[in-house]
């Protein structure tokens, strides 16, 4: 994990060979045909996903991207693999944050879906990132209940990740969830046990948000493409304040994330002077 570099040219080469631009989502996301999550992304029994520093990336910046893979949001991973990912990673690096380590989570609905949580690993290389993203099963589930399990991303980040950024430098990572529905309000111990294989405490979304905030700056990108999404957006604003970013066009996602990360990095890690120096390297 995390010892390869994001190489835009290599990424474009590979993407065109793999046909990301022309293939359908079903062809790219191979788990969709199998109608099940990839075993390597099954969170059952995972202790930790780690974001560690390496020679190539001495100041790793852990970033978690919780992608809603239910019905109305399933096209976003497709968009990411086509164009978004290089924009995102390239943009972050060009913006002066050379060591991003990105972890994908697939988020569904723990009340209705077979695979409410899928977890990749923190990666910095384009090939590895593509692999975890395309390995994600776009279950397209969700249900008639009032929300999706975005709080699973908080749970996973809070209790099942470890980062050098935090442990060595006291630096928080960044956690983004992306979706168009409200957050489910409770994560029962029964669901946690089923998904993770252990756990005996029930959490509210507020409790989990607080837990995640200890190690991550928590954001939600609210995609406003329906009336229902507009209503959900209000709840997100109450919950996260300015950390709820509302967008109308999902193609904005890479830019939004890039902007936040670079901003954060500029302001909190190196300071202005440091950044100037850095950009000249």
């Amino acid at each position: 994990m995390g010892s390869t570099r994001y190489d835009l040219d290599a990424r474009y080469d590979r993407a065109s060979k793999a046909g990301y631009g022309t293939k359908s989502a079903g062809e790219i996301f191979t788990q969709n045909a199998k109608r099940m999550a990839h075993e390597s992304m099954n969170p059952h029994g995972i202790s930790f996903r780690e974001s560690r520093d390496s020679e190539v990336h001495p100041h790793s910046v852990p970033i978690i991207l919780g992608l809603d893979v239910t019905g109305s949001m399933g096209h976003i991973p497709h968009e990411l693999i086509r164009e978004g990912l290089p924009k995102l990673m390239g943009g972050i690096i060009q913006g002066g944050v050379p060591d991003p380590a990105l972890l994908f989570l697939g988020i569904g609905d723990h009340e209705c879906d077979g695979y409410p949580l899928q977890a990749g690993q923190f990666e910095s290389g384009d090939e590895e990132l593509d692999m975890w993203l395309t390995r994600t099963y776009i279950e397209s589930g969700g249900g008639g209940n009032a929300g999706e399990s975005y709080l699973l991303a908080w749970y996973f980040a809070a209790f099942h990740t470890r980062t050098d950024a935090f442990e060595k430098r006291g630096q928080k990572g960044l956690l983004f969830t992306i979706g168009d529905e409200p957050c489910l309000k409770t994560l029962p111990a029964s669901a946690i046990r089923e998904i993770m294989g252990n756990g005996q405490q029930t959490y509210t979304h507020i409790e989990l948000l607080e837990e995640a905030k200890k190690k991550y700056e928590v954001y939600h990108i609210s995609v406003l493409h329906s009336d229902q999404a507009l209503r959900a957006d209000r709840g997100w604003r109450e919950l996260l304040g300015q950390n709820c970013i509302s967008i109308e066009d999902h193609r904005e996602i890479p830019n939004v994330i890039k902007g936040i990360i670079c901003d954060k990095f500029k302001n909190k890690t190196l300071g202005t002077a440091g950044l100037d120096q850095f950009q000249m390297l």
Binding site: C112, G141, G143, T186, P188, A189, S190, R193, E194, Q200
Partner: protein
């Protein structure tokens, strides 16, 4: 010498364990009937004269007047149990039911979980909370039959813990779900007794649940039941009670059935007659009863498998629903020697015939 008779279904359930148990009960009126797997999801139909009862939380000797015993391997749901007690009382059945202290208790929260969790539905649940109960018992939030007769305050604390475990937060909702549950508990005269209670009987009939092909270890995962449906549990209890004279009654229909999702061989629409009394009809959770031609290789598989769990003195075969189709059952296709073979020709156990 004490004698045990064990009734085991060789298929995916619905083989005729109820009618077979009733047949044995009719010959041994002083016996006790013991459930040793499954719980309130059982639907074992017994018909007698003008009376009919689908046994679920009571064993299939109840309509005929025999007492019931549920071992620690079973689950109970007090509301279902109470309702069935009232029903049996009206039909003049025996409502004496003794329950092992370690029987697992299904709560309204388990039922709720079972019915709302889509994954469970795909696995073929019957929506009665058993899978959820068994799973919950792997967590710290357990509830046993003995808790029903313990201090009420302690019971309430445990129930609150279970509500919390499933993420119930609204007190009103919890209270609403609990009210009928607590009323049912109050409406029962609980007889919670360990296995020593069984030692006063000379004749024990062990009534299996589901079928060997749904066993948690031997069925095709994930469409399995959360229970050992072989003779495993029954045989352990026989050993505990030092019973050596054990007769097996392996039950199959003359055709294959499966209720719920999952693999089955030879599936096809069967042309059946005289099946107006079929209990396994369409339900919301398991949908239609599926049928198929009898698969002798599967029967041989199930028989051989059960032999790994039990050392009986006699092995008998029961073939039910023989009146429902014209095709002959080919006993010669079975690898096992039986001491006797019985056929059933109507929904009444009085029409059992020994055919070998």
């Amino acid at each position: 010498m004490k004698k045990a008779q064990i009734v085991i279904g060789l298929g995916f359930g619905d083989e005729g364990k109820g009618i077979t148990t009733d047949f044995l009960a009719s010959q041994n009126p002083a016996a006790v009937v013991i459930r040793f797997s499954g719980g309130q999801q059982a639907a074992h139909t017994v018909m007698m004269d003008e009376r009919k009862h689908v046994h679920s939380s009571f064993a299939s000797g109840a309509l005929r007047g025999l007492p019931s015993y549920f071992t620690e391997h079973c689950t109970i749901h007090p509301v279902f149990l109470f309702n069935e007690k009232e029903e049996l009382k009206a039909k003049n059945g025996n409502i004496e039911l003794h329950i092992h202290p370690l029987v697992k208790v299904t709560t309204p929260f388990d039922v709720w979980q079972n019915r709302t969790n889509t994954r469970n539905l795909e696995h073929g649940t019957c929506g009665k909370g058993i899978g959820a109960t068994m799973k919950r018992h792997e967590s710290p939030y357990k509830l046993f039959a003995i808790d029903l007769i313990g201090p009420r305050e302690m019971l309430m604390e445990k129930l609150k813990g279970i509500a919390y475990y499933y993420g119930f937060v609204e007190e009103n909702e919890i209270r609403e779900l609990l009210n009928p549950f607590l009323e049912a508990i109050d409406g029962m005269d609980w007889k919670i007794n360990d296995y020593t209670w069984l030692s006063s009987f000379d004749h024990l009939i062990f009534e299996g649940s589901q079928g060997i092909l749904l066993d948690m270890d031997h069925g095709v995962f994930p469409n399995v039941t959360y229970a050992h449906t072989t003779s495993k549990n029954a045989y352990e209890i026989c050993r505990l009670l030092k019973i050596e004279d054990i007769e097996m009654y392996y039950v199959t229909r003359s055709y294959a059935t499966r209720h719920g999702n999952g693999w089955m061989s030879n599936e096809k629409q069967m042309n059946l007659k005289n099946n107006e009394e079929e209990t396994c009809t369409f339900n919301e959770y398991q949908k239609e009863l599926r049928t198929g031609e009898i698969d002798y290789s599967l029967l041989n598989y199930a028989l051989k498998l059960d032999g790994a769990y039990v050392f009986p003195t006699k092995k008998n075969l029961v073939i039910t629903c023989l009146d429902q189709m014209d095709e002959q059952f080919k006993q010669e296709n079975l690898d096992i020697e039986f001491d006797a073979v019985y056929g059933s020709y109507s929904p009444y156990s009085k029409d059992f015939k020994q055919i070998f």
